[in-house]
Symmetry: C2
Subunit: 330 residues, 2 copies
Amino acid sequence: MKRLMNAVETMLDESLDGFAAAHADIVELGAERKFVRRRTLTPGKVALISGGGSGHEPLHAGFVGLGMLDAACPGQVFTSPTPDQMVAAIEAVDTGAGALLIVKNYEGDVMNFEMAGELAAAGDRRVESVVTNDDVAVPNSTWSTGRRGVAGTLVVEKILGAAAEQSMGLEDLRDLGRQVNARTRSFGIALAPCTVPAAGKPTFELGPNEMEIGVGIHGEPGRRRSKLSSADAIAEEMLSAILSDLAAPASSECLLLVNGFGGTPLMELYLMVNAARRILAGRGLAVTRYLTGSLVTSLDMAGCSLTVTLLDVRLTRLWDAPVRTAALSW
Amino acid sequence: MKRLMNAVETMLDESLDGFAAAHADIVELGAERKFVRRRTLTPGKVALISGGGSGHEPLHAGFVGLGMLDAACPGQVFTSPTPDQMVAAIEAVDTGAGALLIVKNYEGDVMNFEMAGELAAAGDRRVESVVTNDDVAVPNSTWSTGRRGVAGTLVVEKILGAAAEQSMGLEDLRDLGRQVNARTRSFGIALAPCTVPAAGKPTFELGPNEMEIGVGIHGEPGRRRSKLSSADAIAEEMLSAILSDLAAPASSECLLLVNGFGGTPLMELYLMVNAARRILAGRGLAVTRYLTGSLVTSLDMAGCSLTVTLLDVRLTRLWDAPVRTAALSW
């Protein structure tokens, strides 16, 4: 494994320092680098806070800023942040309207965010949470009871971010978040594994002509190992799983997120966009919004995920609302 | 080599179709996919056109839009586009104020853009060009006489794009482009090679603990092969080469672009931001603008480049001016 680093122990801290310097117009680091927060808060707005293991950049710190998150707590690579980090973030960015925690469904994350919420609530803060579980690949997984939360999490973060800017209250945001999660499904495949710096060896092995169907964003096993097939066949399998679970009404409009896991060139991601949009059109779904890029990554894993979110007029407007973060801006 | 594709022959076309669909609010494809152009042109504005081999995405098509390019011509992977493509692009987006061609210094690109410029000029169009050659690693290279044009090209495209929106004329834009290029230097290193789909094998070989110092964006050889060293030592070597060539006046302000080659996680790129900014500060250079991401890539090559552009008040304002493209937006 080759990494641009000085030492495994300082890698995250150094990366956070670089991130904070590069985006000092938008974010600042909390004390002891416990969280990344917006430089400027909006008093009276519900605070949106997420977080999780590092190694998925730009998720989540790259989504802190106007129209999206107020703070993000970075854990060590593929490791949940601590309740201590989350409580510090809540205290830093909750201006009185309460805090909504957006949590990917992994046992460590769920447990720690729950504990943080209870601690903050004991301190008289109003805290609610949304747990994302958009990954249809497997019903349970290495680190999750129930489905995993993956790339669809950023869709929840974007839509809630817009609604929060428009003064939506805490409980309504929580309900909207659960609704967006319920309208969102994802499915990932890997062509090559990732390597966690502290481990120094790949998280799994793949033969020269194999792929992992239904892989998780930490390289967790999916449904099966298979021979590498064509982009069209891969997109077909991914979308079949997504659509059979989503049960979209006829003539639905949707958002298509084609997400790279880190090691896959953008040229291939756009090729997958093309494959997916034709398949979706054939199933009667109109893709009215697109997002393409390596946004919810697994270090240097090669592969991608597809995410479909059913839109309506309100969700489309919230998706289109202005956003100004390190990784998403429009 | 594993690729998300259906066939090598159709890969570029399918990817362009996906790109055009995903960004239909900003761009459209020219006939026979000869170029990607802005959907909406500004009459009387000088047209900025670039292009080059594919495999460097998001460069250049990802930089087409308000505040940057008017058109980009995609060649096959690592292969220059043809004069025919460039002439078609000029005819499509020159609204009468002339066309400025922004060309990376590779023999094929320079020759074809020159031919296209002559053909367009014979058709009574005003055409000027700027050739970028920001890579200080080697004086000549596999496909270039003189220095290679690499990631600094996007800095030229951004600054000229802003100036063109502000109604700067053709000759002034050409001169400004050459000035920005002269104030810009880059240096790249690779930790792992890329694989051209049609070739099916890596462009070069690296040992398990080796890196290529001064690599080009097609995997061309650099200065030397070396043992992998720390991020700080790598950044020091890269910036020493850049700064000794740039001869920056004391207390200069600069833009720092940390560019990933495709296979390197964002976490490592931000770690390099941190290393580079400390070294630059130690040399008396204040980094006042940052850009970080995999923006001028070499398919799935692992590694990164550093680019430094000396800023002044005018260039900083042009850098900050609004941009709305698939890959850059602020």
